[in-house]
């Protein structure tokens, strides 16, 4: 008789809620026809809120493992769950007015919920197997979401590119995991860590595995030179999805990287740290430089997110309590800014009925002052100006670098940050270009209300987080304790 493993239902409730939400939604959608959009949004928000609620409920519980040790439910998981739920809700608000929501709204929301579940699973993953399936759950769904706008060839193109490259990335990750498995005999993070700290770090097989795993995850984060998909996919994907991707995917992938490098492979630090340093430096500088020459806003922000990912790597390189806290808070901080910025772009696309470029937004800021000012705040947040949450994020990450004697990386980050001002300011300048006659007709596009709500929510989060970040920092510090390095 096979004894099925114990399942701590409460602990997996956040993910379960999401998955069940997806099933229920599709089920309901097949009965209630023609109300895809409202139904999807309502169910989606309920599911996401419920998952966040469950996660918050679990906050004070001690860390546990469940599903036969496949999942590790700790505060990092909860923070990520809440974050992803927040991103999901905001994304739903942004997407609400989108045409495709009328046709395939249920599928869209279901996929989004599954992605969220996958991301939560990543945060909870305890072994490469869990990590891989979770990663694939969200990646595959994301490929679909990227290509969701079937009317747009760019969307399909982006989905296809993401799929091809993403699969290579996944394969590299699994390949690496296989080598680690071969060397240590296990896929579990803890077991690998134990085996490696005994064996030392000189084995070529382990190095091979480490590097491949690192590259696989680096691909998911989108750092140079594994970033080639980012710009195209961000540009081609529906804008609401892009926003979600830039925030949530980054969170998931970074948490995965942190789990793998800091929990499973701390012994291999000599191998991955130099690689990450090279990646971080190159990404920060070249990512921002690439953004500098863009005219398409989504593309520009895509490169910006590449640069930002490089910045986040600093925290992982530094590691330790400061680094992990910095990383988690940086991810927290980055999410509302990214979603907000893409929400504004989305709004502009609806006004303009076309893609957002530096030319198309010329003078637009005077027509939609609230959105434009919010955009300015988000962009200033990217640049790390004070009183935005981006500043605190930058502050803690740079702080960890300085504390961990990686000040020179901080200097690189500063240079990159200044370069980033080059394009961030160009967006602001274009929006508030008095001279230009904006060709935008302010047609009453549908669903603007929810979009505006999303923008204002993001704005509030960015500002509140920038002025009173104490609570968030506490959470980040607690969540960091879930990682071995954070303790």
């Amino acid at each position: 008789m096979i004894k099925a493993p114990d399942v701590n239902w409460l602990a997996i409730a956040p993910m379960m809620t999401l998955m069940i939400g997806a099933f229920v939604l599709l089920l309901l959608a097949s009965f209630i026809r023609g109300r895809d959009r409202g139904l999807g949004t309502v169910v989606g928000i309920i599911a996401l809120l419920a998952s966040a609620g469950f996660a918050i409920n679990l906050w004070s519980e001690p860390a546990t493992t469940t599903m036969a040790g496949a999942l590790q439910i700790d505060q990092l998981t909860q923070v990520v769950t809440v974050l992803i739920a927040g991103c999901g809700i905001l994304t739903l608000l942004v997407a609400f007015g989108w045409n495709r929501m009328r046709e395939n709204g249920a599928e869209f929301v279901a996929l989004l919920l599954l992605i969220a579940a996958g991301m939560d699973l990543i945060a909870a993953s305890n072994s490469f197997v869990t990590l891989f399936v979770a990663l694939e759950l969200f990646s595959l769904s994301l490929y679909v979401l990227c290509a969701f706008d079937g009317k747009s060839k760019a969307s399909l193109e982006s989905g296809f590119k993401y799929l091809v490259l993403g699969t290579i990335g996944s394969m590299v990750l699994v390949y690496g995991a296989a080598f680690l498995y071969g060397a240590t005999g296990s896929f579990g993070f803890e077991a690998i860590n134990t085996a490696l700290s005994k064996a030392g770090s000189g084995d070529a097989l382990v190095i091979l595995g480490t590097v491949l795993v690192l590259i696989g995850l680096a691909f998911k984060i989108g750092v140079m030179p594994f970033h080639m998909w980012v710009a195209d996919v961000y540009e081609g994907a529906p804008t609401s999805v892009t926003g979600f991707m830039s925030a949530a995917t980054k969170i998931a992938a970074f948490v995965a990287l942190a789990r793998v490098l800091l929990d499973a492979l701390p012994a291999m630090r000599d191998t991955w740290a130099p690689a990450l340093i090279i990646i971080a430096v190159v990404t920060m500088i070249l990512g921002n430089i690439s953004a500098l020459v863009q005219t398409n806003l989504k593309r520009m922000l895509a490169y910006a997110s590449v640069g930002a990912a490089g910045f986040g790597l600093i925290a992982i390189i530094v590691g330790g309590a400061a680094g992990t806290r910095g990383l988690i808070f940086y991810l927290v901080a980055y999410a509302p800014m990214a979603i907000g910025a893409f929400a504004v772009i989305s709004l502009h696309e609806r006004d303009h009925k076309g893609i957002a470029t530096l030319d198309s937004i010329r003078g637009w800021g005077f027509q939609r002052p609230v959105a434009a000012v919010s955009m300015v705040v988000f962009l200033l947040g990217f640049a790390g100006f004070p009183l935005t949450v981006g500043f605190i994020g930058k502050f803690v990450v740079l702080g960890s670098a300085v504390e961990g004697n990686y000040t020179w990386l901080g200097v690189v980050a500063v240079v990159a940050s200044v370069i980033s001002l080059g394009y961030l300011l160009r967006i602001m300048l274009a929006m508030f270009d008095r001279g230009a006659k904006s060709g935008v007709m302010m047609a009453a596009a549908p669903g603007i209300g929810s979009l505006n709500l999303a923008i204002l929510l993001c704005l509030a989060l960015v500002l509140i987080g920038g002025i009173l970040p104490g609570l968030g920092l506490d959470w980040a510090a607690d969540a960091a304790k879930s990682l071995a390095a954070g303790r």
Binding site: V164, L165, F226, M228, T271, P274, A275, L286, I289
Partner: protein
Amino acid sequence: MTELVWITLALPLVGVVMLAIFGNKLPARGAGLLASLIMLAAFGAATVALILLASKPEDQRQVTETAWTWLSAGDFRVGFDIWFDQLTALMLMVVTGVGFLIHVFSIGYMKGDSQERRFFAYMNMFVFSMLVLVVSGNLVQLLIGWGLVGLSSYLLIGFWHHKTSAVKAAKKAFIMNAIGDVGLAVGIFLIFVDLGTVSYSGVFASANTLSETQASIACLLLLVGALAKSAQIPLHTWLPDAMEGPTPVSALIHAATMVTAGVYLIARMNPLFFYAPKVLDLIVIIGVVGLLMAGAIAIVQTDIKRIIAFSTMSQIAYMFVGVGLSAYWAGIFHLFTHAFFKALLFMGAGLVIHALNGEQDTRNMGGMRKLMPKTYFCFIIGGLALTGIFPFSGGFSKDAILGAGLHVDSTIGWIAYVGGLLGALMTGIYTFRLIFLVFHRRMSPYAEKVAPPLIKHHGEGPSSMLWPVYILALGAAFLGLLQIPGVTHVMSSWLEPISPYGMVEATAGQEWLTTLIGSLVGVIGIIIAAHLYLRESEAPERIRLGRGRLIAHALERRCYWDNLYEWMFERPVQWAASFLNRDVDATAFRWLPTDGVGTITAFFGRSVVVLQNGIVRSYALVFAVGIAGFLLFLLVRGT
């Protein structure tokens, strides 16, 4: 008594404020009247103060008072002080007295100018500044007065600011004076660093602690200030140009008061200069060279006011010689008489210019004697005083200086003596050349056309212009009697106490001898002038184009000082500024760190995104190269 000094000081300032605020509500004449009345009141206050001072016992004739601490930083404190002693009292008299007369004169002179109120406000401000300078009890306040008179002078020279030449002249004067201010300021710094104080009493008390080098450097720097303000070589080039200002301005500022501030400074700081004998010698030499040069240049000038301006420079050079020889009283005495006769000459010139509708070129004058007999008379008195003919005032004061040179009986003394006499000869020549050109000879066509109708209409001038001239003429004629060698010695004994180390005073015999020779030389000069200029003759022109052509050219170009400065400073500075601005700053500091970096980064950016060509397999290629590269790097590194 000190209250009266404060009142004297405050009155012109009140005038400025009233004119500035209510000026627009006053009738046109009112401004001049107000300003003049204020000057009269100030003069009255100053006179009473002088009398009160004189009535005190001799050892109590020096009063100081501090109104408030003006500036402080650590142990550096400067008060707003007055220092009232014999020298100050005398200067107050000159400034307010001559100032009052010139104000009155200005009422007539400026009549009809739409900017009268501004003019009188500036004039009052000048008087205030000058008073600040002379009553100061510390060097910083002196510097403030020093700078403010420069500012007033700038404003007044450029009073007719629609004239480009006037604006240029004003700027030139200001910059030259600024150089002097800086020299003076640095001198003050040095004194503070060495002595730890900037108040006169402190400096005088501790001057003996200075080494000769220290004292010399400090005095040299003070001298720089004095040279600039008093238009002495090498900082003299602004004075002739300053004649672009209205004539009363030239009379008040550029003859009677401001330009003599250098002399005042040296006399005032004599306890310090005592410890720098070499600097005193230098002052004498500068004075001698200056008086000769200025006198020589004055001979060839054609502009009536410029001739007087060079004369002023020359006369101040005499004063420098005087103070340089430690005959401070003589220097100040000459300052005193000069204020009268030079103001007189300027005002006379002003009357002529007025009568000729603003014409200043002597070649367009001539024969004015018949039209303007009163002016002519006064002018002759002024000319004789200037030439130093006994018994006019200038003679006594100048001969006191030369006599001091004789008394010193050293090389420097003899240089001063001989140079001074030679200067007296030139003075005679240029003064009477001027008089002959203006008042004698045949009337020029221009004058013939312009002057008679004007004179017919106005007379020689309104009484407000004539009376000051008369009064000044009286002063020019008789003030020398204050100090008749061996008879009266009001000046020397009054000023005796300001120099704790004693002053040089020639004996009566030496002075009489000098007076004799000086008057003789002056008369010779007049005769030469008469020979050359009384009648129209070819002689001057022959000399100018003949044997003396090099000298004449040099003199006409004012000994090339302006050209020298243009080539040495103005052009290099302008060139350097242009070069630095256009080439260095714009490229290295403005373009490179901003646009330059931007351009370079954007270039890199375009190179980087070339890879992003949209082809998925090339993306995969980058991916593959990345994998291969990192594997290679880390495997090689790790094993």
